[in-house]
């Protein structure tokens, strides 16, 4: 099924001493990331949380290749990453969608620019359109879809491209609560079906807990702690009301609230 995946070297991401310094308009330097080390295993789901401005989106952009680190390296399969590429699919918070293409032709985009023949492309796209539940809407333009459906379209487009790594930058931040929960469950279902290394940036603790294997808690450009999420898979919405879930949620809250406490390293971070 996942023909692009080669046996042998497992796809994994390694961040080595990543530091990112950005210049403000006035020329002052801001350290957005500093000394970030992180290994992500094949099929692992990582959530990155932290207060706004903590560098979580910057971290994601480095992996996506949308910005180069000032120091340090980002390795994918042991090879250094430079610039964006189809091996790292990104689901953005905003409306990243090709407005002039129908849902079907949106999902076909990545395959089309690779030169996949039309019939093959259509079959392949159809699978992902069905996977995200847009089969009845395939011939509609994005303007005719709801915000949640446009997000599904984006996810299908990125997945159809069969990336090694899935990067999601607060993808559901702009959606209403029920839609958000529904899409979280979809993400879990898809992850179970096609497990791939995922980095999911969010400011929503519950979302992070519900989805991730490990939660990276960031603060002022550094990894403050990495928390293991003990819940097994597959997960469903019943998990949200389990006492263990609430306990861990409270713990993470305290961690984020505790702001300036001395940085403690998690057990396996």
């Amino acid at each position: 099924m996942l023909a692009a995946q080669t046996a042998g070297a497992p796809p994994h991401i390694r961040l080595q001493g990543v530091r990112k310094v950005m210049k403000t308009e006035r020329g002052a330097e801001i350290v957005a990331l500093s000394g970030v080390d992180l290994d992500i295993a094949e099929g692992e789901f990582i959530a990155v949380i932290g207060p706004s401005g903590c560098g979580k989106t910057t971290l994601l952009n480095q992996i996506a290749g949308l910005a180069e680190p000032s120091q340090g390296r980002i390795l994918l399969h042991g090879k250094e990453v430079h610039g964006p590429g189809r091996d790292r699919g990104v689901v953005f918070q905003g409306d990243a969608i090709f407005y002039w293409r129908t849902v079907r032709r949106n999902v076909e985009y990545g395959l089309e620019i690779q030169g996949m023949p039309k019939a093959e492309r259509r079959d392949h796209a159809e699978r992902y359109i069905r996977l995200v539940g847009l089969a009845d809407f395939a011939e509609l333009y994005p303007k005719e879809l709801s915000g949640g459906m446009r997000k599904r379209c984006q996810i299908a487009t990125v997945l159809a491209n069969n990336p090694d790594v899935l990067l999601m930058d607060e993808p559901f931040g702009a959606l209403d609560y029920p839609t958000k929960c529904q899409l979280q469950e979809e993400v879990l279902r898809i992850h179970t079906r096609e497990p791939r290394a995922t980095v999911f940036v969010t400011h929503d603790i519950e979302e992070a807990l519900f989805l991730a294997d490990r939660i990276v808690v960031m603060e002022r450009g550094r990894i403050r702690r990495i928390v293991d999420v003990p819940f097994g898979r597959p997960r469903d919405s019943a998990l949200r009301i389990e006492p263990a879930f609430s306990d861990l949620k409270a713990e993470l809250w305290a961690l984020l609230e505790g702001g300036h406490a001395p940085a403690a390293r998690g057990h396996d971070g």
Partner: protein, 287 residues
């Protein structure tokens, strides 16, 4: 029994573009009022002015002037409706060919230049200033210059319209390129598109609605530019016979030609609107 049949449910009222037709009776009424106002004004002028036919002929005078258009076919031509129709057809065809030629050439140059400059930062640095300088030259001030270069030839008129269209379309197209969402371009990059592919598959389709919107304005102005060129530097065309009518002091014929030009402008605008609608079906519209 027939009444029962009549009570059958009516098809639901159409919404969307067709719903705009609800305003039509009102628009029609306004036209009638204006026509009546013209008539009353011309009656007043006829009662008080020495040469009412020059100052303000009545609508009937204008209709009666139709056969007199035949005079533009050459001296001695019989002043008949058939010959007038021939004159209208000939000069309309000349003007439209000039207009369409100028639009096609100018549009291609304007969009082409904008695409080049939108693509390359270096080209932009070198050429954007000079090209914007060309844009601020009052177009009509260049007409005598075109007259010197081309004389009163059709090539001159086509060139002038093309120049005007190119300068307007260029600015519009470059702005349209700049307004293409950076997020969508970045998104395409992460899906594996090269910079050139992003330009071809994202920037070009995404700029179309703004370009087409600007084109409607350009089309209206292109008619004005064409008429100006024909006033000064042409042997035929609607602008030419309009200025000839003025020299004969035949206001009725002038009004006829103006009405004809209004009709063509309207038809062109509707045609472009139709094309625009099919090209921009995907554009999210404000409610």
């Amino acid at each position: 029994m027939a009444e029962v049949m009549d009570a059958a449910p009516r098809p639901p009222r159409r919404t969307g573009p067709a719903a705009g037709r609800d305003g039509r009776p009102l628009g029609f009424a306004v036209v009638l009022v204006l026509l009546a106002a013209w008539w009353i004004a011309s009656a007043y002028v006829a009662a008080h002015a020495a040469r009412p036919d020059i100052l303000l002929p009545s609508p009937l005078d204008v209709v009666a002037a139709i056969p007199r258009l035949a005079v533009f076919a050459g001296p001695g031509t019989e002043l008949s409706y058939a010959n007038a129709l021939g004159v209208i057809a000939y000069h309309s065809a000349v003007s439209m060919a000039t207009l369409l030629g100028g639009l096609a050439i100018g549009g291609a140059i304007g969009v082409g230049l904008a695409l080049l400059l939108g693509w390359s930062r270096r080209l932009r640095l070198v050429f954007e200033g000079p090209l914007l300088l060309v844009r601020i030259i009052p177009l009509l001030s260049l007409l005598p210059l075109f007259l010197s270069w081309f004389g009163g030839t059709r090539t001159g008129a086509v060139s002038f319209v093309a120049f005007a269209v190119a300068s307007m379309v260029f600015v519009n197209a470059l702005e349209a390129i700049r307004n293409v969402s950076p997020l969508v371009q970045t998104y395409a990059r992460t899906l594996g598109a090269s910079a050139a592919t992003v330009y071809r598959t994202v920037v070009v389709p995404a700029m179309v609605p703004e370009l087409v919107g600007g084109l409607r304005v350009v089309l209206g102005l292109a008619w004005a530019i064409l008429l100006a060129a024909e006033f000064l530097a042409a042997q035929s065309g609607l602008g030419r016979i309009l200025i000839l009518a003025q020299q004969y002091l035949d206001t009725s014929r002038m009004i006829l030609i103006v009405i004809l030009i209004m009709f063509y402008t309207y038809i062109f605008d509707r045609a472009l609107a139709l094309v625009a609608r099919s090209l921009t079906r995907w554009v999210p519209r404000q409610k």
